[in-house]
Amino acid sequence: MVERPRSPWADALAAFAENRGAVLALAILALIALAGIFAPFVAPHSPLDQFRDAVAAPPAFAPGGSWRFPLGTDGVGRDQLSRVLWGARISLFIGFSVAAATVLTGAALGLATAAIGGWFDGLVMRMMDIVLAVPSLVLAILIVAIVGPSLANTILAIAIVYLPRFVRVSRAAALSELSKDYVTAARAMGASKVRLMLRTVLPNATAPILVVAALGVSDAIIEAAGLGFLGLGAQPPTPEWGAMLADSRDFLRADPWMVAAPGIAILVTVLAINIAGDGLRDALDPKLRRS
């Protein structure tokens, strides 16, 4: 007798909690997110203020550094720590808004292609193949070149570049669910096509979509940093990690720590998202779960 039925999501949560690495990664990610959200309060300086008396100052732990600028300053005297903290805000915003946009449109397109099939399926999937055939950064550059460089356009460009994988994953998940008995049973109870897709198929197809979304956040952050590095992402003086890397590139020989701050920020964030995302996948896939 089951007295306290647990939902599949509660099971997944319990499995996730058992994965220490994933929980740690999630904690780090939460810390980065909090730092980004509360950047105005935790950052020691404004990310835009140029301290002309301390241009290219070394970090506090290096010889000649002071605690006034814990991570030093960049080439025009802006506090690196403050810029990295504000940059977390921008990078995570880009990452999660790209993921949200691609999940929504991708799942909608994927379910629609699975439900409608025929020429519509062929048309949408071939369009996705075309997007996939162009290297992602090149396509993103092309889109930004057309619509102009800005933060919003960066998000748009990256969302378009990463749309196909969501369409493919949700279409595949929907197709495999559509062939199952309970879908036929729902049809036998008189369920309409829309209800069938949204109420019957979608809840059962969410697990793979969520996993791709989680991993998509980190890809979006890298892609945004790449665009920023090329000067096609967020525009100066916005404290964006990729743009910060590009700015400090000229100082690589003389002041290598200047590159380290945004570089390590990108590394830690992406790593945390990937490990947490892997944990999510393991938790949602019963086959990979410890029983």
């Binding site: 599949p8 008995d181 309970y182 049973a185 109870m189 008189g190 059962n204």
Partner: protein
């Protein structure tokens, strides 16, 4: 007038090797409140015929028929919206694999309540209350707790009961049960059959039982249609069919029942049902038939009445018992 009246039903699947006729010229009539059993080996097109009636076949299936009428309405002429309103309400179906026929993402109670609200019978708390009452009606102990359980937390028999609860939620006039007991073990089979019999008696619905188990048929059916390789073989009242099978295939099926075995070994039917790629003889059963002669391979067997509502499609039917021939 018959509740379900299907004449000359043919279902063709477009396959790479060309069209494959899974069902060919099958008639099914069910009167209100009666139990009809459709019998045949796996691959006889029993399920496909019923799925065609429900409109649940995949897109590569082509359904043709002289007539498909339910309750006086032509099922082929219905718009999708009208069909959805009818299917699940007046015409319900339960499936072979109860464990996979329920949505794994939702609780059993939620799914039954959804069926009620989708057809506008009840909403919200009222629908949930009726879902619990339905679970109690199909003999699930602790229905309140079970309504909150997910399908994977219940046994196969429980899931099948829950499926039946959902199917009878809107008091259908006809319930099609597609091998409802095949995936269950024998004691549970008997319980499910008893449940179906009881519900039929209580609600007055008609029941179509698709099965390959002659024992199930003997226990529940009023009338029997025997199907082989997508074609009709024989049809009769259950008692008459069991007493005096006229088609060699029916006789072979009955002889294969362990209860009727006389020797040391069970009587088996040699060979197998022809697959999709194999050519069909005019009499599909001829290659496996002990009575087959040359004419069976060249000419389609004629339909012959066997008295009352009985009929047989065979060139050389088994003789009727002496008493009946005189009558």
């Amino acid at each position: 007038m018959a509740l379900l009246d299907v004449r000359g039903l043919t279902v063709e699947f477009a396959t790479r090797a060309g069209p494959f006729r899974a069902v060919e010229g099958v008639d099914v009539t069910v009167d209100a409140g009666e139990t009809l059993a459709i019998v045949g080996e796996s691959g006889s097109g029993k399920s496909v015929a019923m799925l065609a009636v429900m409109g649940l076949l995949p897109w590569n299936a082509k359904v043709t028929a002289e007539r498909i009428e339910f309750d006086g309405r032509d099922l082929r002429a219905l718009s999708p919206r009208e069909r959805r309103a009818l299917v699940g309400k007046d015409l319900a179906m339960i499936f072979q694999e109860p464990m996979s026929a329920l949505n794994p993402c939702f609780t059993v109670g939620f799914q039954i309540a959804e069926a009620l609200s989708a057809h506008g019978a009840a909403r919200g708390a009222e629908a949930r209350k009726r879902a619990v009452a339905l679970l109690a009606e199909v003999g699930i102990p602790e229905p309140e707790a079970r309504a909150r359980a997910f399908p994977h937390q219940m046994s196969g028999g429980m899931c099948q009961r829950a499926m039946i609860a959902m199917a009878i939620a809107l008091r259908p006039k006809l319930l099609i049960a597609d091998e409802p007991t095949t995936a269950l073990d024998v004691t549970v089979q008997a319980q499910i059959l008893d449940l179906l019999k009881r519900l039929r008696a209580e609600t007055g619905m008609a029941l179509v039982l698709v099965t390959h188990d002659m024992g199930v048929v003997a226990e529940t059916a009023d009338r029997v249609v025997v199907q082989y390789a997508g074609r009709r073989a024989e049809g009769n009242a259950a008692a008459a069919l069991f007493a005096a099978p006229r088609h060699p295939y029916t006789a072979a099926l009955l002889d294969a029942l362990p209860e009727r075995a006389t020797g040391e070994r069970l009587a088996a039917i040699p060979g197998a049902v022809p697959g999709p790629s194999e050519p069909r003889l005019p009499c599909a059963f001829a290659p496996r038939c002990p009575r087959a002669q040359d004419v069976c391979r060249t000419q389609a067997p004629p339909r012959a009445s066997t008295g009352g509502e009985g009929y047989v499609h065979c060139h050389f039917p088994l003789p009727a018992p002496a008493g009946e021939r005189a009558a």
